[in-house]
């Protein structure tokens, strides 16, 4: 594992508000964070502290109201949705707490989906999906539908889908939240492996146990970074 000096992600004074008709809630309050290429970072904090908001902005699913977000030396804070989607599909993989697989597609087809959207040729897709399914040890389940799998297996499929495009960054939102501890540990091992092969990982979690797999823990409170722990 090597952590390079140039930061992959640099956010400066990032702000995000949620407005309803009468109330304005501050989700991120002038937050500044740097994350280097190859790092494994855990983001922790109580409910409503802005963890998920941060993850969504980092994943370019949402845009900030103010501040700067530089991804691989590109300022993306004010990108259009289309530009963000293009950048996202080549660089970022997502893993969710609730797996978010498409029920109508088989394991194979779910994992294949990102390759379709990046325009990879069909023969190449088969090769890459099989490769990653093999790696995740769910090859034997390739023709099953998500509802036929256990939670642990579903999360493996979700991780397979997140990595099939060989993204530089994986964002995981409580990836073990819906799993028992044994399956949860398996998933954390998988993420650690990926990180060791060079993928940057940012994970939101409530679990101190899971956070211990990371290099660094950023603790948020009320939209601000209150503490960083460097793991040894």
């Amino acid at each position: 594992m090597t952590i390079q000096e140039a930061p992959m992600i640099k956010i400066t004074n990032l702000e995000k508000f949620y407005r309803t008709e009468e109330v304005e809630t501050i989700a991120l309050n002038k937050l500044s964070i740097e994350i280097a290429t190859g790092e494994f970072v855990a983001i922790m904090g109580p409910s409503g502290c802005g963890k998920s908001t941060l993850l969504n902005i980092l994943g370019m699913l949402d845009d900030p109201d103010a501040g700067s977000y530089v991804f691989n030396d590109i300022e993306v804070a004010h990108f259009t949705e289309r530009k963000r989607a293009d950048l996202r599909k080549h660089n970022i993989g997502f893993v969710f707490q609730s797996f978010n697989l498409i029920d109508e597609l088989t394991v194979f087809e779910n994992v294949e989906l990102p390759l379709i959207y990046t325009g990879v040729a069909a023969s190449e897709r088969v090769k890459r999906v099989e490769e990653v399914l093999d790696k995740m040890q769910i090859m034997h389940r390739r023709n099953h539908y998500p509802q036929q799998l256990s939670g642990g297996q579903q999360q493996r499929v979700a991780i397979a889908r997140a990595v099939v495009n060989k993204p530089k960054l994986i964002l995981a939102d409580e990836p073990t939240g819906n799993l028992d501890s044994s399956n949860g540990n398996d998933v954390m091992e998988l993420l650690t492996d990926l990180n060791e092969q060079g993928t940057t990982i940012i994970m939101v979690t409530h679990s101190e146990h899971d956070a211990r797999y990371s290099h660094r823990i950023i603790r948020l409170l009320d939209g601000q970074s209150v503490m960083e722990n460097i793991m040894v």
Binding site: A85, D86, S98, N100, I102, E104, L113, P114
Partner: protein, 788 residues
Amino acid sequence: MIRNYFKIAWRSLINNKLYSAINIGGLGIGMAVSFMLLIYVYNEFTFDAFHQNKDRIYKVMRNQPANGDINTGDATPVQAAGALLKDYPEVEAAARTNEGYDQLLNYNNKPLKFNLMSADPSFLNIFTLDFVKGDKAEAFKDPSSVIMTESTVKALFGDKNPIGQTVKLNGSQLVKVTAVIKDLPQNSTFKFKALIPWSLYETMQPWVKESSWGNYSFLTYAMLKPGVNVTTFNHKIKGLIAHNDPFNKENELFLYLFKDYHLHSEFKNGVNTGGSIEYVRLFLFLAIGILFIACINFMNLSTARSERRSREVGIRKVVGARRIAIIQQFLGESVLTAILAFLVAVVTMTLLLPYFNEVIKKQLVIPFHTYWAWMAAIGVTLITGLLAGSYPALFLSSFKPVKVLKGNNSGGKKTLHSRQILVIVQFVFATCLILSSILIYKQISYIKNRPVGYAQNGLLEFNIEGSMYKEFENFRRDVINSGAVVDAAATSLSIANAGSSSWGIKWPGQLPGEDKIPIDQIVVSYHFIPTYGLTLLQGRDFSQERPSDTLSLMLNEAAVKMMRLKAPLGQIVKWQGKSCTVIGVVKNFVWASPYEPVKPVIIGFDKGWAGQIGLRLNPKAAVSKSLASIEAIYKKYNPEYPFQYKFVDENFNGKFQTERLLGTLSSAFTLLAIVISCLGLFGLASFSAEQRKKEISIRKVLGASISSLWFNLSKEFLQLVIISFVIGAAISWYYMNRWLAQYTYRTDVSIWVFVATMGISIVVCLITVSWQAIRAALNNPVKSLKNE
């Protein structure tokens, strides 16, 4: 990528069978009905369009001013064709025909009736007839020739070669088959099965040749040379009648494009005012309307399921799908659904078309073998798919992945709003149809219950043919003696259908110009009044005991009123060139349109003018037995001819054909619109129930009863239905009043019609919505609250 879309679409259809069935079925039935209407519309627009010279063929029409009005008709003097051809170089060809009617053709003692028309030889050059056997140029060389259609030949000769065969026409005249043509297309004005030359018609009916310029009995067609401007030409022939018939110098002839006549056959004051084009427009409107509400349905049901599809959209966006890709996907799904619906439509259409044909009295066929029909059908299917999928695609693709993956998509309120508008559009359409159906039926029953002025039941009529002309009195005596019939009379026309008038009638105290007014006439022999059950108000019926009655006539009340005769009996009225004494006045009877006030009628006496026989059945005898004995007696006197009769009440009911057609179609479409709209409402209700799951659960936890929850969920839909009712009622009120305005005798648009319609709408709405509402109300609150 496309494969992936279709895969998802297919699996999503399979996994939601009820939803898919409602969606595909609803759209399919909508398409089927819409396509059938479009076939009808196409059929009407291509009526008479198969004639190669269609843009140069004209019908010669007649304008006849009388009493401040101009009557327009297509009956013309027999000399018109010759005069047009001789004096106007613009005319390339002209031909006369009579109205074709059923006549007897007998080959090898096999007498069969066929629609036979007579026409000048030039008819064959003006119109496009498809000659299968024989030579067009030679076909009418011999005056005793006949051209037959393939089906006529098949019926008469079987597989034998008909050319040169001789058949007996109407029991006496021998004619030789000189040519065979293909059966005329069903969208043709001409319906004849056999065609004889005009010269033969003149031989058989010598009066035709003698008839004057003032006798308007025949149809004339003219083909102008290419490039001739018809407006200019019509201006030129304005004086044609005046030149040849100074007595009727006000009357004018003009040409009207033949192929347009079928849809534009109504004239008011000499100006074309449309005709059945109105129905074609109505059908076109219905076709588009039905398809549109089926599409709305599709949109409603698709967006109703958006909750369940939103997560998929979110995931696709997260893994890299652009919005356009999502839009493509959902459009792909709706196009797939539309294609499946199209297959349902083809099957439905095949099953329904025979019934539809029966209702509209046409022989429409599905044009399976024409490529343009497939192109059009596929085009409509694709457009339907794209239209129906447009809203769901735009709506679903707008989801923000961040929100939907967290399960709190807040687009709900807004979508409910636009979906409410869609449902209102549907229900406005349905309301209009319900109201129209009720009013059309109300109008028909109103007219049907109007007293006709004669005894319609137990009255039958048939044409006088063959030997019946001379044997009528013997026949009458025998059928009365047999006990089958209580009385019988010969008349010129059926009492169910007016069709004869004359002018030049003079009466005491007549104002100048009144002799130009055409007055309806029915010419009868003895026993007319007792046979038909008319009411004699003054005077007496024609009597065999008084030979002078050959110079007498009767009037109806309307005629007495028009002629302003204070004491009509004994007055002298000049009719058909004879001075006749008025011997009786009958109560008004409905002879012409049952929708119009009764017009003046002259009941003239002329034994030689008979065309129909009317029989008053013995009410004490069984009808089937009476008919059998009448037929036996008929065969005795007229063995050559089959006994074909019509009951007057049935014949009379034929006058309501258009209204009944409208009524049947309107109620069928009403049912369809209600079903389709309910599917849409069902979709909206399930959408709303899903959206309000949490609210319902909280209310339930706090102690709300099932019935209060049911009311709570149902009331928003009741509001929609009531709004739709108000809009629909306003539109219908306007249009139905306009529709009714064309009838002099019309029912009123009463309040109960609206109350009933609103009642129907509310009941239907509650039934549809309650299922979802009760289901939602019965739901376990713990489940939905835990999901939050």
